[in-house]
Amino acid sequence: MSNSVPIAPGLFTWPAQKPALLGSRCNECGIVSFPVAQSCMACSGQDVSVEELPGRGTLWTWTVQQFMPKSPYNSGETPETFKPYGVGYLELPGGVRVEGRLTENDPEKLHVGMEMEVIFDTWRTEPNGDEIVSFFFQPLA
């Protein structure tokens, strides 16, 4: 059986029954940041707590990446198999706007303000069989 490994430690809870993105909230000014930071970018405070971010939000802005980025892009794709992908900022109520890849890449189906959920899925498979897992934003059906 293959190993399922998060793309980076500490970005989201994993493994978990109901995985969630992780942010840090400043205990002095209440500002949230993603990914978890050791200090607060807003007030310079160093007293922060890690918390799970909401799993749903609204799309604040978006684009579709139509060409394949150079390294360090690492999706396992080749220029021949590359598929354009959506990118956007999802506004998570009470939290922060998080940037991520969208599961939708059709510009006709994307618009500012649409509701989306955070999902976790295989991003690429390593030569040793490990499945690298990342987070994605998916339109609510």
């Binding site: 793309i7 980076a8 500002i31 978006w62 684009t63 980025p69 360090p72």
Partner: protein, 380 residues
Amino acid sequence: MDVAIIGIGIHPFGRTPARSGLQQGAYAARLALKDAGVEWRDIEFAFGGSASAGNADALGNELGLTGIPFINVANGCATGGSSLMTAYNAIRSGAYDIGLVAGFDKHDRGAFNADPEAMGLGRWYGELGLMMTTQFFAMKIQRYMHDYSISADTLARVAEKAFINGSLNPNAWRRTPVALEEIAGSMMVNNPLTKYMFCSPSEGGVALVLCRADKAKNYCAKPVYLKSAVLKSRRYGSFEVFAPSQALQQVDGPTVDASRAAFELAGVGPKDIHVAQLQDTESGAEVMHMAENGFCEHGEQERLIQSGATRIGGSMPINTDGGCLANGEPIGASGLRQVYENVLQLRGEAGAHQVPGNPRLGYTHVYGAPGISAVTILQR
């Protein structure tokens, strides 16, 4: 102590396989020295930078080793603006009478390739394909179009104007006008921006000779005075490039902050400016930077651009040398190119791209990753 620009030099932008980036910088520096009527050995300090073409202080190997303090500057797209601001303050402080600022570069083809770890971000950010300046600009204008009803046609018109102005500028890279329909219909790169709406990394060099204002007339019949040179970085809450998250509450970005500070320092306002060079790494940036620099209200750009106000003969000429869109972006040289263009304009020496009416005040603005902005105001 006020500061004057008494010499300017440029190496044509574009692709010059026969010359290294450093040699293009030296070419520009020699022209700037000649323009000021001084020798390299007269220069008391030099600040400069390049992102991909080596250390600027290697210009000493080309121009001669004279023992002066030469400081290498690396500040992304605001490298030139940072060198200039530092030189401005060095002369204002009284420490030096005359100095040189230089910027040059030579980039590979294709989009810039930023290193997430150098920006304090995790490698995952680049692996997922989020470390792209083009995406940021596309997402910023996407939201802006939603909020302020800017049309896709207006984005195409910005690029159309850039190539028209480039065709009038012998030092520009893109010197052929491109039809509006071709711009709008070209390959989509990052929605809503097409291929012709983005600038490309390129090559080129620019140098400026600066001196104490009270000595300017000893060198130059038409000195141009640097009324302000301001650099600002982002505050928490501004919407910036290379940000895995953004604040829920947005605040003004570094462009707004730098612009306000520069106008205050110069004692003039946006309505006093006769010609402006605003960072246009893509069409949407020029649109947004018009308002961020105080030249119009948010949303007014639609009417202004559609009516031709930003063309060379218009009421608010912007990017009269073709901007980044027609010149490409050699990072180290790009911000200084804007200043070079404004000096030409204020001297009345811009030839086919000269703004009519004898302009007296010029404005430049650059924006760079990860959220810095440099503004200058020049007066003849």
